[in-house]
C-alpha cells in the first residue's frame, strides 16, 4: 500500500528500515505487534468458543448419537494429524529461535518444513472429508446415517437427525480450523520469501514471532478438536 506520508517522516537520522514512523523505537513496535497478535488470538478463542458451546449442549443431549457418529470417523488419521501439527509447532519454534540467532538457512528450512507439515495435515484432512463424502456423512440433502449402531448399546441405532448435528459441528469446526491452516500457510509463504531475501535479523524478526504465535494457536485448537470430535466413545 503506498504510504506517501512515510517519506516526510524519515528525515530523522537513519533508524531501522522496518521501524514504522509512528513508533518511537523498535522495542515499542515489537511489543505492539506481539500484543496485537495475542489480543487477536483472544478473539479467536471466543470465535471457536461459540462452536464449543453448541458442541457442549448437543453432546449432553445426544450423547449416544454423537458417540456413534464420532466412531465413524477415522481416529487413526486424526491422531496422525495431531502428531503432524505438533511436529509443525516444533519446527515453528525452531524457526523463531533460528531468526533470533541469525541462522538464515535453518530459518528457511524450518519455515519450509512447517509449510510441508501444514500441507500434509490438509492432505490427510481432505482424505477424511473424501471418506465422509463417500459415506454420505456430509450434512445436507444426501446425508444418510441409517442403522448405525450406538456403541455399547447393541441393537440400538443412532438417530440420523442427531448424528447430522454432530457432522454439522464436525465440518464447521474442522472446516474453520482448516481455513485457519490455509491462512497460516499464506502467512508462512510470506515469511519464507522474507527470510529468503534475508530481511530478518536478530533485532527485527517480529513477523516470524507473531506468525509463530498464530500457528501455535491453530495447533492448540486442534489439540482440543481431536479428542472432542474423534474420541467421544471409542471403546468396544
Amino acid at each position: 500500500m503506498p504510504d506517501s506520508t512515510v517519506a516526510g517522516l524519515h528525515r530523522q537520522e537513519q533508524h531501522h528500515p522496518e521501524l514504522l514512523h509512528h513508533f518511537a523505537e523498535p522495542q515499542q513496535q515489537r511489543d505492539a505487534a506481539s500484543l496485537g497478535m495475542w489480543v487477536f488470538l483472544a478473539t479467536e478463542i471466543m470465535f471457536f468458543g461459540g462452536l464449543f458451546c453448541a458442541y457442549l449442549v448437543y453432546r449432553r443431549w445426544y450423547f449416544p448419537d454423537f458417540a456413534a457418529a464420532s466412531k465413524s470417523i477415522n481416529a487413526t488419521l486424526g491422531a496422525t494429524n495431531t502428531a503432524v501439527l505438533i511436529c509443525s509447532s516444533l519446527t515453528v519454534v525452531l524457526a523463531v529461535w533460528a531468526a533470533q540467532t541469525a541462522r538464515r538457512t535453518l530459518l528457511i528450512s524450518m519455515l519450509g518444513i512447517t509449510m510441508l507439515l501444514g500441507l500434509v495435515f490438509l492432505g490427510i484432512k481432505a482424505d477424511e472429508y473424501y471418506d465422509k463424502f463417500e459415506e454420505h456423512h456430509v450434512p445436507g440433502a444426501s446425508f444418510s446415517f441409517d442403522n448405525v449402531p450406538i456403541p455399547g448399546h447393541p441393537g440400538e441405532f443412532a438417530n440420523p437427525r442427531h448424528a447430522q448435528i454432530f457432522f454439522t459441528l464436525y465440518f464447521v469446526m474442522t472446516g474453520l480450523h482448516a481455513l485457519h491452516m490455509i491462512i497460516g500457510l499464506g502467512i508462512f509463504l510470506w515469511l519464507l520469501t522474507m527470510a529468503w531475501k534475508g530481511r530478518f535479523t536478530p533485532e527485527w524478526h517480529t513477523p516470524v514471532e507473531i506468525g509463530g504465535l498464530y500457528w501455535h494457536f491453530v495447533d492448540i485448537v486442534w489439540i482440543y478438536l481431536f479428542p472432542l470430535l474423534y474420541l467421544i466413545d471409542r471403546h468396544p
Binding site: 500484543l35 488470538l41 505438533i86 509447532s89 479428542p227
Partner: protein
Amino acid sequence: MYFGIWAVLLLCTYITYKAAFIELGRFNAAVALGIATLKATLVALFFMHVWHASEKLTKLVVIAALFFLLLLLGLTMTDYATRPWS
C-alpha cells in the same frame, strides 16, 4: 528443551489415542480433556513463550480470554443443566 516438550506432546497424543479405547466410563472424557489441556498449556507456556513473557500483560490476555470462554460455557449451562425436562 523444545525437543523435550515436543516428545512429551507426542507421548500425550499417543496416550489420548490409546486411552480412548479403554472403558473408563465417565472418565474417558475427563482423561481426554485433561490431556488436551495439559498439551495446550505446554504449547502456550513454552512454544508460545508465555512462561518467559517479559510482561504480565500476555498472561493477562490469555487468562482473560479463557475466563470469558468459561463464562460463555458456564452461564449457558446454568440454563441447560437445570431445565427440568432435558
